[in-house]
């Protein structure tokens, strides 16, 4: 036992060193992780951080421009825009993370099976994915939400559905090129059946490119969820959500109250930006070959 724990410890600490190395080497990755940390903080502690109740109306202070008291101004019902934007982080991140996790798992399983066994299974799955991709994806998501009903779960399902093909195709290609790799054959000689070879030896090697896909996808998923809410499908007012806030704020831009739409929009943009920057860093962290 002593030997095992001795072996484990350097491995864990070397992983930690590697992460630190990646962060130090690339300032952009560092920035992305800092922003991610901020968003996670908002998502977890959001309601406790903000100065006002995001749902509390105050007709006396409606449509005030940004000030020290109300950093992002107030909306037509006198609610604090800053509080609403920060509190909405939790909902928007949950929707996108749940949707991406769902499409990651389903897409990875479909793609791995298609890439490993090939044949008619591969052909059928590929045509199925082609069918999904043949629709304009946002319209497909709209259709799903409209048909299933206007709930948060359905937004998640719709967002997951339109992202599945991307994962499935990526995994299929990554698994396919490693199907007959030496290490896969060696794993079979070590007594692993096909399923174990696929799940434990081939699939993990597809993770680095998957990580890039995940982080880009998180950005898209946030945009998608916000987009659905923007056109009235999805989260319903008065729940604070970036898409609805932009949609509601848009009505007031003409009359000069720009802050209603601008700040939720900027916040949304920052979130998408963060996830897009995250990809390369995440990939380098899960790739053992980048270690040295």
């Amino acid at each position: 036992m002593a030997q095992i724990s001795m072996n484990k410890q350097p491995a864990a600490s070397s992983q930690w060193h590697h992460i630190l190395y990646v962060l130090r080497e690339n300032p952009v990755t560092m920035l992305a992780f800092a922003l991610l940390g901020m968003f996670l903080l908002c998502a977890i502690l959001g309601p406790a951080l903000v100065p006002y109740d995001p749902l509390a109306t105050n007709a006396a202070r409606a449509l005030e421009p940004p000030s020290w008291e109300h950093w992002f101004g107030t909306d037509n019902l006198g609610r604090d825009v800053f509080s609403r934007v920060v509190v909405a982080t939790r909902l928007d991140l949950s929707i996108s993370v749940a949707a991406v996790a769902l499409s990651f798992v389903i897409g990875a399983m479909l793609g791995a099976v298609a890439g490993y066994w090939g044949g008619w299974l591969d052909a059928v799955l590929n045509r199925l994915l082609d069918t999904i991709m043949a629709f304009p994806l946002f319209v497909l998501a709209m259709g799903v939400v409209a048909a299933l009903g206007n709930t948060i779960e359905n937004i998640i399902y719709a967002t997951a559905l339109i992202n599945i093909p991307f994962y499935a195709r990526l995994v299929r290609a990554e698994v396919n090129i490693r199907r007959d790799a030496g290490f896969a054959q060696a794993a079979k000689l070590a007594g692993n059946g096909d399923l174990r070879v696929l799940a434990l030896h081939i699939f993990p090697n597809a993770l680095p490119p998957m990580m890039v896909q995940v982080s880009l996808n998180l950005g898209w998923a946030i945009l998608n969820a916000a987009g659905l809410s923007f056109i009235g499908l999805g989260v319903r007012p008065p729940t604070p959500e970036w898409g609805i806030m932009v949609a509601e704020g848009a009505n007031f831009i003409v009359s000069g109250e720009w802050w209603l739409a601008l700040f939720p929009g900027l916040w949304l943009m920052l979130a998408v930006f963060t996830f897009n920057l995250l990809g390369d860093g995440l990939r380098d962290m899960v790739d053992p070959r980048k270690r040295s």
Binding site: A11, G182, A190, G191, R289, R291
Partner: protein, 543 residues
């Protein structure tokens, strides 16, 4: 013609500057063929890139002079160098397929070069391209003019690359491992062709190779490089009969050749008496009428046609043949990674071909048949440390856990000569020889009765190859395993195997005790194979 003086090249890397060349000096006369020999990392390729002005970003000539026909190449402008490359100095790269544009007909690629250097006009380009193809002895050149690279064999592609390199009558030809990856008879054809062309045109040539035998056969003078410096130079006979530098001596000894024993490949101080292995008179593996047919685009393709042979317990059998002869298919069927179309594979009297390959992972005989793969790098999972790779069969089949497994892994590492502190490393942190050891340790982890070795030393330097071959000999004596040794290199097979099978197009064309097949081959194909293997000049074998 070419004079290199005190050339030093450095690279900037993540871990600081690295000196690739440290003061290399040599001359090349007109019409002379110079061999640049060394193991990987010795700086032989960097030398050629420096000559051509093609160093990677980060590479830089630190000092020294390169003079070509009175011209200072180091100070030549990029435009001058472009003119020079192709017209005066030409290069042949390692991988002919990668050097050709895959989506352009080879004739058009030749025309591009001819016209780029003003050697042909639009009207006569085609005729000149065909003439160039004929010059490299491509049969039916007018038809091949329209071929794409993927339609040609590796040897044909290399001929096209040579035609491209010689299209503008260069004065100096640099060939960087021109025959790596080619079959041995193809290698001979390509090298003979190159030698003839060089002689006929009176060019100077630099042949870069890791194969001392090949260099000795085709070069007038050989430079031996190590760690970015030239350690010795001289005529091939002199280098072989009286190597002055210790490193040259080691290299010469490690090169398998006629009359050498497996221990004589090692440096003198590391030689121990060769252990005897015991061959029992009981068949361990019996292959009967084995067929493998693939479904091809244009009908079925027979890879293996009715193979029958046996391996006795403790015996080492060599399986020799060129690419496409079905030797890899055969070994994969025996190790149960592929199913035969027809036939039986009896292991200790039990037909293992009756269990489909997909279900063989849980077969009780799985532990007794293991394999060492050709490409040591590709056979290790990049995400697994060396210890995890070696321990994998112990965990799955041996059901060993925790400390017991760790102890067995450590024991195996000792057995194959892998330092314990390397066990926690990942494959990309290990050298080629170390990866080969990990692969061998993994294969012998469960004490298999039959070990299939698929060209285990093909990607290794000769000195590492010598160590690995000797390790295999020791392990065989210690553990009493039988080997099926698959290889294209007859010199290596002769050293290791008791009996040898020669395969061609899926059939056995000759078999017998290896000494007999090697010295008195019966089949013309075996004779051709033996004749094509480069033989270094004879020298008294060190005792």
């Amino acid at each position: 013609m070419l004079a290199v003086r005190d050339l030093a090249v450095g690279f900037q890397t993540r871990k600081g500057p690295v000196n690739a060349l440290r003061g290399v000096s040599f001359d090349l006369a007109k019409g002379e063929t110079l061999g640049l020999v060394g193991e990987s990392g010795s700086g032989k390729s960097v030398t050629s890139y420096a000559l051509m002005g093609l160093l990677d970003a980060g590479g830089q000539i630190r000092q020294g002079e390169i003079t070509y026909s009175g011209m200072d190449l180091r100070r030549a402008s990029e435009a001058d160098m472009r003119e020079l490359r192709g017209r005066e100095i030409s290069m042949i790269f390692q991988n002919p397929r990668a050097a050709l544009n895959p989506i352009r007909k080879i004739g058009h690629q030749l025309e591009d070069v001819l016209r780029r250097h003003g050697r042909a006009s639009r009207q006569d380009a085609k005729a000149k391209a065909i003439a160039a193809l004929e010059a490299v002895r491509i049969a039916d050149a007018p038809a091949r003019y329209h071929a794409y690279p993927f339609e040609l064999s590796g040897g044909m592609c290399q001929r096209v690359v040579i035609a491209l390199a010689l299209a503008c009558d260069p004065q100096l030809l640099i060939a960087d491992e021109p025959t790596t990856g080619l079959d041995i008879t193809t290698q001979k054809a390509v090298m003979d062709l190159m030698g003839d062309l060089i002689r006929a045109r009176g060019m100077g040539a630099i042949v870069i190779t890791h194969d001392l035998g090949l260099a000795a056969q085709y070069c007038d003078r050989i430079l031996v490089m190590k760690d970015g410096a030239i350690v010795e130079q001289g005529a091939p006979e002199q280098l072989f009969s009286a190597p002055r530098h210790a490193y040259t001596r080691r290299l010469v000894e490690a090169t398998p050749r006629l009359g050498a024993s497996i221990r004589s490949l090692l440096p003198a101080e590391a030689r121990r008496p060769e252990p005897q292995h015991h061959v029992h008179n009981r068949p361990l593996l019996e292959v009967r009428d084995l067929y493998k047919t693939y479904r091809g685009k244009s009908g079925p393709v027979s890879a293996v046609k009715g193979l029958s042979f046996q391996i006795k317990a403790g015996q080492s059998l060599g399986l020799v043949g060129e690419s496409g002869c079905g030797k890899s298919t055969t070994s994969e069927m025996i190790v149960r990674l592929q199913d035969p179309s027809q036939g039986h594979i009896l292991f200790d009297g039990q037909d293992i071909a009756a269990t489909p390959a997909a279900r063989f992972a849980r077969h009780p005989l799985r532990r007794d048949i293991q394999m060492v793969f050709q490409d040591a790098t590709g056979s290790l999972n990049p995400r697994d440390s060396a210890a995890a790779a070696i321990g994998a069969p112990l965990a799955r089949i041996g059901r060993m856990r925790g400390a017991k497994r760790a102890a067995r892994v450590a024991e195996l590492a000792d057995l194959v000569g892998l330092p314990q502190n390397l066990l926690s490393r990942f494959p990309h942190q290990l050298s080629g020889g170390q990866k080969a050891r990990v692969g061998i340790a993994r294969a012998i982890a469960l004490d298999p009765k039959l070990l299939i070795l698929d060209e285990p030393t093909a990607a290794l330097d000769v000195s590492i190859q010598a160590l690995v071959l000797n390790l295999l000999v020791d392990l065989r004596a210690k553990l009493g395993m039988s080997y099926l040794f698959v290889s294209h290199d007859l010199n290596v097979v002769r050293l290791l195997c008791d009996e040898v099978l020669v395969m061609k197009s899926g059939e056995i064309i000759e078999q017998g005790p290896s000494a007999q097949v090697m010295t008195a081959p019966q089949h013309p194909y075996t004779k051709a194979l033996l004749a094509a293997a480069p033989q270094p000049p004879q020298r008294p074998t060190a005792k």
